[in-house]
Symmetry: C2
Amino acid sequence: MNFSSKLLENAVNEFSRLPGVGQKTALRLVLHLLNQPAHDIERFSDALTKLKTEICYCEICNNIADQTICEICRAPKRDKGLICVVEDTRDVMAIESTQQFHGVYHVLGGLISPMDGVGPSDLNIDKLVERLRNEDVHEVILALSATMEGDTTIFYLYKKLKDFKVQISTIARGIAFGGELEYVDEVTLGRSIATRVPYERSIA
Amino acid sequence: MNFSSKLLENAVNEFSRLPGVGQKTALRLVLHLLNQPAHDIERFSDALTKLKTEICYCEICNNIADQTICEICRAPKRDKGLICVVEDTRDVMAIESTQQFHGVYHVLGGLISPMDGVGPSDLNIDKLVERLRNEDVHEVILALSATMEGDTTIFYLYKKLKDFKVQISTIARGIAFGGELEYVDEVTLGRSIATRVPYERSIA
């Protein structure tokens, strides 16, 4: 693209580094920002700088937080013996919004993915083992994505944790609510038949 | 959404103010940035701040520039008597990339749109009239979008400029190269027949 200004070009290049943002979209965003009042842009760049410099990761669960211990780990009503292992903070938010989980979390910060050069040592796994060793944990739920990377990570975690006296479970996989049988892929459908549940349990 | 951190929430809110960016996309972008090195984020927020504080608008054509007069208006080879009127800097970039235009530009900064509260006085029209009055202009090309707002603006500009001794033209409308006749809408097809050009001219 032929930019009429170096400053414009710089800003567009910065935006187009974001995932899923091409040069045309970046230009649209930058021109939109340029039409906003100066203090709006200042607030934007302030929020970005503060994000990186002031944000904390919870010392217990590694979730993004404003303090050294996150709100969930501080909450007295939460069951500290029930740990839900997730990939990142987005998954914490998704599970929290269901209001079905009353334990605490452990954020891995990624999944094992040799293709992307992410090995077990890049993840927050040692701290999880330490939690199991030092705290009175009765169950670990592995709530990871149903992908190759997710399954690999679940398998690795299972091998690491199976010697502890703790129940290890994974979240249920099957047909989503509202899903029509004929459109479901065979693997999911096959597994959902193999792991069928008694009707009384499914409505509990 | 339930954010685990106020700083995270602020950054997501700033991003989701951008056009076409919802809360989920904003969160994805912010988490991506959070994984980048600190100096990358600093460069990002720097580019934004500088964009607003240091950018200039060309005193002649109103295009975005790094100096008070933009490169196109400064170029001695450009035909200063041929002015192409466009909506914004994106259109300048699009026309420049065709390498078919050797005149200069005039950037309106928008289109007349009563629905959005944009009237003629909000656009850079007075300066265009001044240019016609003071400079030796022989042709004005109105290269605006083929929308309601574009047509309204063209009509307004035509009434403003028609008393000057200058040729006023609009860019050709018709079927795009690679377009198949049967899929073209009736208005475009009808107009393209009404404004047909002799074959010798079409290959010139």
